[in-house]
């Protein structure tokens, strides 16, 4: 694993940095989609994989970020970059407020309530509550990103914006793993009662995980709105949440696993366009097969490192 981090990551970075310059515009769009959905899947991983809460409504926070950017830009004339703080903070705040009352629910109940949040959100947006969401058609005609007076309207600019956000997210995930909060979430997932008994405030950390995951998803929503310079309710349906949920679990809640999951779910369908009608049928089959063959995910996450001498000693002792 250590080798992977040392050599895999720089290689990945170089490939991703060069990538848009060798792709045509259609594949640039696919690459941007890949980056955005990876960020959302990583944010889902914080809630589902790291904290172990059955959240099946991640598209809600993703969509909320996208809609905030779209509304502020198209209706109130804010520049895209200025909407980012709102698109992070408001979903995070919602994540905290929504999770507060439901965090004590048992796993499956939590799952259905988060599905419910997602469905309520889509219905609110579709019914054009407050007259700002544009109803079933959504909002279109967003500006492009402008940085210090220059309009960065090319796809390549959006690509690097998305890549920067992905790197930021990866940084957060890495810090989380090595920090007090990350360890607390890990204990919490493994055994809530034990975590509580060693003095971890499980409730606060669960809400923290929801807030963090929601904020990152909101930021991904901003890029999504910028890429298409439009938003519409269908992009944030409950089915999307199902896909994010499945990606995390099939990937095994590890970063390479999630990359692989997003690649299979969102990039391969672009390659095999002619199989469009078969897409979800094959996905369904692949989901069952992946779980039967690797119930812990294709690339299961490992937490922390056990020093070598400890492993040896315990082997000798046994």
């Amino acid at each position: 694993m250590k080798n992977l981090e040392q050599f895999g990551f720089p290689v990945f970075l170089i490939v991703m940095a060069i990538l848009p310059n060798v792709l045509n515009s259609r594949w640039q769009a696919v690459a941007i989609t890949f980056l955005i959905f990876t960020v959302v899947a990583l944010s889902q991983d914080i809630i589902l994989g790291k904290a172990g809460m059955f959240n099946m409504g991640q598209a809600l926070f993703f969509g909320m970020g996208a809609y905030i950017t779209a509304i502020l830009n198209a209706k109130f004339g804010w520049p895209i970059l200025a909407t980012i703080p709102v698109a992070i903070l408001l979903p995070a705040l919602f994540g905290i407020l929504l999770s507060g009352p439901i965090i004590h629910l048992r796993g499956d109940y939590l799952l259905v309530v988060t599905i419910g949040f997602n469905i309520v959100f889509v219905q609110v947006v579709q019914n054009n509550l407050g007259g700002v969401t544009g109803g079933p058609n959504g909002i279109f005609g967003l500006d492009s990103i402008s940085l210090m007076g220059t309009q960065l309207s090319s796809q390549i600019a959006v690509y690097y914006f998305a890549l920067a956000v992905l790197l930021l997210t990866l940084g957060i995930m890495r810090n989380l793993e090595k920090s007090k909060a990350g360890r607390a979430l890990h204990y919490l997932r493994e055994d809530q009662l034990a975590a509580e008994s060693i003095g971890i405030n499980t409730r606060a950390y669960k809400i923290f995980a929801f807030g963090l995951g929601a904020g990152i998803a909101g930021l991904a929503g901003t890029i999504f709105a910028t890429q298409y310079s439009a938003v519409s309710p269908e992009a944030f349906e409950f089915l999307q949440s199902v896909l994010f949920f499945s990606i995390v679990l099939i990937g095994g809640s590890s970063i390479p696993g999630i990359f692989l999951g997003v690649f299979v779910m969102f990039v391969l369908p672009e390659v095999f366009k002619e199989f469009a009608t078969w897409r979800f049928f094959i996905f369904g089959f692949a989901m069952i097969l992946a779980m039967i063959l690797r119930p812990r995910g294709i690339w299961p996450a490992t937490f922390g490192k056990i020093p070598k001498f400890l492993i040896k000693e315990s082997n000798n002792g046994a």
Binding site: F54, P101, I102, H104, L105, R106, G107, D108, Y109, L111, V112, V113, I115, G116, F117, I119, V120, Q123, V124, N127, L193, F238, L239, V242, F245, S246, L249, I250, T277, W278, R279, F280, F281, F283, G284, F285, A286, M287, I288, A290, M291, I292, P295, R296
Partner: protein
């Protein structure tokens, strides 16, 4: 008052459909602790199977015998699909982490839903008029023959299921497996058989519900299973998942609630109100209305 009685009749009809579907969710959950996401899509599949039996096998006959045959054959077909699903997609994952089985169920749901689309096409199909359109005007409230049949047949099935689970040896085996699978095995109960039985019962009740949906709403689409499945699942949770009378009660409650929302507020907000009701009830009673309070196991 007329609106109230009319929506009461509509609510009881749709509520009994939800209740039948919810039973499938709740029985599977009770024994396997698994949300069978594919159940809703099997309900949808049943309507399409019924349609095909009607056009291909029975030559569009609407005699009473033909209707009975459609119901029986669809139920048998869905029972087979249910048992097959359990064998192939759920049994290998019984010892795996719980979420693996959930993903497998989601995969099965996508497969069945898109299987329907690949076989019968993505466009809406019209379900045959198997039951004559007879309406009674009861002082401003219109009740159709279909509504009466749906309600009566659902109640009969639910009472029969309740008696089966409470009074027979097989029913006792189901209840025992729901409480503790390992202890049931030690007592000589074949838990694999119990699970197969549950899938047979749940899927055939779902099949009946699917045909009811076809009869009542006429238009059937390949992806309608998501919606009905989700509502029925909400109904099962409202009543306390794993609890059989709870599913019946939750289904009726949700049907009436949605009918009154449609009658007095607006049907465009039905989903939002449904889930707001669910969230409020779960905040007050975290295990549903009839669910038992389970102490945290240490």
């Amino acid at each position: 008052m007329d609106i109230f009685l009319q929506q009461l009749a509509n609510g009881l009809t749709i509520g009994s459909i939800y209740a039948l579907v919810a039973l499938g969710y709740t029985m599977v959950y009770g024994v396997m602790k698994l949300i069978n996401f594919a159940h809703g899509d099997m309900v949808a599949a049943s309507a399409f199977v019924g349609l095909t039996i009607y056009t291909q096998v029975l030559g569009q006959s609407t005699s009473l015998i033909a209707v009975v045959i459609i119901f029986l054959l669809s139920a048998v077909a869905m029972a087979c699909v249910g048992v097959l699903l359990e064998r192939l997609a759920y049994r290998p994952l019984r010892q795996a982490p719980r979420l693996s089985a959930v993903v497998s169920a989601l995969g099965a749901s996508l497969m069945i839903q898109n299987g329907i689309m690949l076989i019968w096409g993505p466009q809406m199909r019209i379900f045959p008029e198997l039951i004559p359109q007879i309406y009674w005007d009861l002082g401003g409230v219109v009740v159709s023959l279909i509504q009466v049949i749906i309600l009566a047949l659902s109640l009969i099935l639910m009472v029969a299921l309740y008696l089966f689970v409470e009074k027979t040896r097989m029913g006792a085996a189901i209840r025992a497996s729901a409480i503790d699978q390992d202890a049931s095995r030690l007592m000589g109960i074949n838990v694999d058989k119990v699970i197969a039985l549950i899938f047979i019962i749940g899927s055939s009740l779902g099949a009946v519900a699917g045909l009811f949906i076809g009869l009542y709403y006429r238009g059937i689409t390949f992806n309608m299973g998501w919606q009905y499945g989700l509502y029925a699942f909400v109904a099962a949770i409202l009543g306390g998942i794993g609890n059989i009378p709870g599913a019946m009660f939750g289904g009726m409650l949700l049907g009436l609630f949605q009918a009154f929302i449609a009658g007095y507020v607006s049907s465009t907000w039905a989903d939002a109100f449904t889930f707001i009701l669910l969230i409020l009830i779960l905040i007050v009673r975290p295990t549903g209305l009839l669910g038992e309070r389970v102490a945290e196991k240490v």
